[in-house]
Symmetry: C3
Subunit: 345 residues, 3 copies
């Protein structure tokens, strides 16, 4: 059930270097590919494998095409072109409409006739499940929540009451959308819980990773705009807003009431404090802590690269003595001790 290279070239607007009638049916890496597989070259670190590849075709850019020993599909953006070809070769099967007999669907829920409610799933009263949507095995859609057309809750997803999710989304196993925000008012004898009466609104084409959590708003809604991609184990606090087409890598945490712009990239295990604003097109590298609003696009960092532990111990010791070092330099400069060197430079 292959597709000819010619057909792929036409469908995706690629330039073909090679036999248009040759067919590919699968994808594979440059090193593993055989004649029936299409491969791709996007990350330069894998270019060394190009010369030896036995792939049926390689998706790559014009610069690399000259070195390609097999048919080439030349693309301005090889990774995106590869993604589209792979989606063609591995289409997501349509959901099988119907409600599994083991599912529990409240009579007051509205489930589209061609949606799929999987085994052990639960759909509460007032919930709406759109056309071709999937409420996968053991997922829970609580009262009044709405799941848009073609959105898939893969398995064991929890959607709290009143949450609204757009179209064509993918929510992976264990994701929890709409749990209470972390709102507690300190008082004399501990904390008073602050009712979290806002909800979560998620746009179209959003993908949410396994065991990721997005909290409902305290008063207004938490908002995830169209095209946002959240990796696994990401935490999104209450009243956060994440702008369209922003991606957040695994284990990152966005604290409450922070706004992130469009097309941002938040690195793995990065974190932000709450109540700040991050502009469009900001890149935050991994393990970085954002403590103030970032008003300009660009890349921001604060993560320390690992070094051998004994070198690190010396570095930490030197850093902790920096104040003294500053004073020693000030003394050499003929100044008295203290913070007086701050005006320098």
């Amino acid at each position: 059930m292959g597709i000819s290279l010619g057909a792929l070239a036409v469908r995706f607007g690629l330039e073909l270097q090679g036999d248009p009638d040759a067919e590919v049916a699968t994808v594979a890496s440059l090193r593993e590919a055989g004649p029936g597989s299409v491969s791709f070259l996007a990350n330069p670190r894998y270019r060394r494998y190009l010369a030896e590849t036995r792939a049926g075709a390689v998706v790559l850019d014009r610069a690399a095409a000259a070195e390609c020993p097999v048919p080439a599909l030349i693309a301005a953006n090889p990774y995106a072109a590869y993604a589209r070809i792979a989606a063609e070769l591995y289409p997501v099967p349509p959901v099988a409409p119907g409600v599994h007999p083991s599912a529990v669907v409240d009579p007051a829920a509205r489930v589209s006739g061609d949606a799929c409610i999987g085994p052990q799933a639960i759909v509460e009263a007032g919930a709406e499940i759109g056309p071709r949507a999937l409420v996968g095995p053991a997922s829970v859609v609580m009262a009044g929540a709405r799941i848009g057309a073609d959105t898939r809750l893969v398995a064991r997803v929890t959607v709290y009451p009143g949450v609204v999710i757009g179209m064509r989304g993918v929510l992976h196993a264990g994701a929890v959308i709409g749990a209470d925000g972390f709102g507690f008012a300190p008082d004399r004898d501990g904390f008073v819980k602050v009712p979290q009466v806002g909800s979560v609104r998620i746009g179209d084409d959003v993908e949410i990773g396994a065991n990721t959590t997005v909290d409902r708003g305290a008063i207004e809604d938490t908002v995830i705009e169209d095209g946002v991609k959240l990796d696994n184990l990401v935490q999104v606090g209450h009243n956060v807003r994440i702008g369209a087409h922003t991606v957040v890598a695994g284990c990152a945490g966005i604290s409450g009431s922070t706004t992130i712009g469009r097309r941002c990239m938040i690195g793995g295990a990065a974190g932000t404090v709450g109540h700040i604003e991050i502009a469009d097109d900001v890149v935050v590298s991994g393990l970085t802590m954002v403590t103030r609003s970032l008003k300009e696009p660009g890349m921001y960092s604060s993560g320390w690269p690992a070094v051998p532990a004994d070198e690190w111990r010396r570095i930490v010791a030197h850093v902790r003595r920096l104040e003294r070092l500053d004073q020693r330099v000030a003394r050499l400069e003929g100044r008295r001790k203290g913070g007086q060197s701050e005006g320098e430079g």
Copy 2:
């Protein structure tokens, strides 16, 4: 179904500035509120919105009341007063007693007659579910575990065998209480699993966030005292003890056998090593790594604030050259190379 400002003032001991017969029925932010809503002002960064608010009433402190253009409910602690008013306006509905027909409750479990066991839930032999408690949809309460009165496992919560949870708790979706601690003894050919024979004891009024994990003890129990609040995606290792009214923000990790005092605040993505003790009233800021016992109350930090990436690269390079800088200064001071400057200052 509103409540009069006068009634709110009396019930919560607030001073009312305005018409006692005016009613509010909902909550809203200062900017969004209309005449039927109560709002609040606690964070000074939102004070700029006060002059323009159209709220039916604002909960605030005496200093801000003079500037309030609408009725004011004056409180010593406006956030806590707001929390109580919001809970009045948005009461948590009582659970509907009974066992859903799709739930699996072992005949040897003891379930209070006015507890609610939701759809697809599982209650194993010997488990006890207290009065008005909720075992929400698809939750699992394993053998011999005990859930106290009025505690709610919202959905998809897992409580391992023998775990004891107190009264009035809230456990959000995906929380896992009592999985095995991470105990493996290194041996010649890998690791030997150390049986985790302790349990978890959780006090009253504890809230546990979505997908948070609290491991059972290796020998003795892991203990979460009364009033503790854990945010989402928090990891609590085996034999940890967290003191009463301590709050732990999202993505934080507490390593095994560490004791945290009362009324501490652990910031987001902060971490501790194991086997240390943190005193009462310690604040640990976000992304901070606690590597030794903290015996004094106060705030501790080690997280680096993000800066533009090229500035950060220079900072990292300079820090890695600190030893040389120290030597250069020592040479200027007329000393020989080496670590001899350490006695300085």
Copy 3:
């Protein structure tokens, strides 16, 4: 139902100092143990409790045995010996074979006759469940996945289609194995999802913690080799390979296409970038960020130990002024401003 100290000594090759006919039936800490309990001493910080213990026996090394006031079981590796004794005293009960009536098992699944499929569990078509394996309550094993003999999905575990898990594994509640890797190709109008057509292969004797996520490969498989132990809330990206007997502590994140060697120890909340290689026998300490391949065994670090917040503020300020300090020193050395001091030392 105790075991005599003599029997324990013989079975585990320990030297007994004390009465071989005395029996122990439980484990306890040095401080809590009574005459019927066996305790152990491995971490030197607990040695101070040895003199006062009332344990029935203590597992310890020869050096400590002289100070032991009660019977001693002398081991070269006391912690591993204790682990084996505890497993003897607290054996994991065999699973009860059979399929719970509330489970949903596809007729085209192959379930061993002595496997246990728990309540509300789901086993899809083509899945294989090996002998004595447990698919615990509310777990989901999707189409074509394979669970090896004696492996236990404790509860609410999700195994995606085609994933292969070896023998004698333990997967704790909320673990998600085989969700899509985080692959999105940036394009003009957002991102194109890259189909994740690889799978996950997990070896024998692997333990995976609660709410931990292991993503399926983009093209080839993500691989977890034999004996690996992953703690709770760990994220393993697509196409990662983790070598045999490596342990990863809680909240750590391994980015896509990174290879970790054998017998490594990755600390809590540590993270790696993608596409790097970590050699065998590497130790990465907690909250450390690995940004490049580590080719030599040894310990690597970059986490900052917490200090009082005002000290930390001064440290941060000094580090941000390091470039100026460097220039001041260069000026004292009689050089002109700039990066010219880099050749120094």
